[in-house]
């Protein structure tokens, strides 16, 4: 067995899903509970004039900002690796950063029923981009329990957008949200409908 000879083996395919929502809604908790690695943080310096491009030439007069985001990894097979990228919660600039959302298969919008408004911007962003998403209501201890339909109405979600209740701290609960997202994506292939 040519274990050390990696030269002719195809590299695994990497797939990206986003975990979005307002600051403090539990994105990193969600990622950490399903990730096989401790969530990692990396950052990128972006400019308002060249968002999505790595070119930092001609910076004079342009606004730069550092966007930091957490991510985790799930190796589903030797050929397939899933990365979960948490969107920066406090920073409006990630909306302008194409690289984070480009190529993402879909997104989980985490919502905290105590302050649903923190998740409005993520819902708006994915709707306008045409990125498929599910809404996962993170059930915090002590938070008033809402039914999924109440959350759907409050967030003004389209009928086909799944709303799932979950406890982001529980690996199985977080995994079931991801399963619901993939099923949602598969359903969209079977019956295309407007995002």
């Amino acid at each position: 067995m040519a274990y050390n000879d990696v030269s002719d083996q195809p590299l695994p395919a990497s797939v990206k899903l986003l975990v979005a929502g307002g600051f403090g809604v539990g994105k990193t908790t969600f990622i950490g509970s399903v990730s096989e690695i401790e969530p990692l943080t990396t950052e990128e310096v972006i400019t308002e004039a060249s968002i999505g491009i790595d070119d930092l030439n001609g910076l004079a007069g342009k606004t730069t900002t550092t966007v930091a985001f957490d991510f985790g990894r799930i190796t589903l097979s030797p050929e397939l690796v899933l990365y979960l990228f948490g969107t920066p919660g406090q920073d409006r600039f990630w909306f302008m950063w194409d690289e984070l959302s480009t190529g993402a298969l879909g997104a989980v919008v985490l919502a905290d029923t105590r302050r649903l408004e923190a998740s409005f911007s993520a819902v708006d962003f994915f709707e306008s981009r045409g990125t498929r998403f599910v809404v996962a209501v993170n059930e915090f201890d002590g938070a008033f329990h809402y039914e999924p339909d109440e959350v759907r109405a409050a967030l003004d979600l389209k009928p086909h957008v799944p709303v799932i209740l979950c406890d982001a701290r529980q690996p199985r609960a977080a995994a079931s949200v991801l399963v619901a997202l993939i099923q949602h994506l598969l359903a969209a292939i079977a019956a295309p409908s407007p995002t």
């Binding site: 590299l11 395919a13 797939v15 990692l40 790595d54 070119d55 550092t66 397939l80 994506l185």
Partner: protein, 123 residues
């Protein structure tokens, strides 16, 4: 100044002792088309005796397939700088990178079903 060869060039909570863009000699444009999700693996060969310490560290993270994002996070470098390092490594044959993925795969049923199968085994 820390001598080359030190493991991380990090100073506790103060972070890196060398400015990130100095690592890449001020370059911000990578020679390869890479994104955060690009997978990288060491080839075990290549003319890397001329590499800088950061290249060597990056190479050490690629013994198994790993994404550009992970290399960036573990080196505590911005993604743009990491792409330059990985491009340098690819140019000298020390790593292979996956070719750019074809856009969005949301209509790829086979891929989605593989994802679903893998995730359902975690329930």
């Amino acid at each position: 100044m820390t001598a080359p060869g030190d493991d991380t060039w990090l100073d506790g909570d103060d972070g890196r002792l060398v400015r990130p863009y100095a690592v890449a000699n001020g370059r911000t444009a990578a020679s390869r088309q890479l994104d955060l999700m690009s997978m990288v693996v060491a080839t075990g060969v290549g003319a890397y005796n001329t590499l800088e310490p950061d290249h060597v560290q990056a190479l050490g993270l690629c013994l198994r397939p790993v994404s550009v994002a992970e290399i960036a996070a573990r080196l505590r470098l911005p993604a743009a700088v990491t792409k330059v390092l990985v491009s340098d490594l690819a140019d000298c044959g020390a790593v292979r990178t996956a070719p750019p993925r074809p856009g969005s795969d949301t209509s790829n049923r086979v891929l989605l079903e593989r994802l679903l199968d893998g995730l359902q085994r975690r329930l």
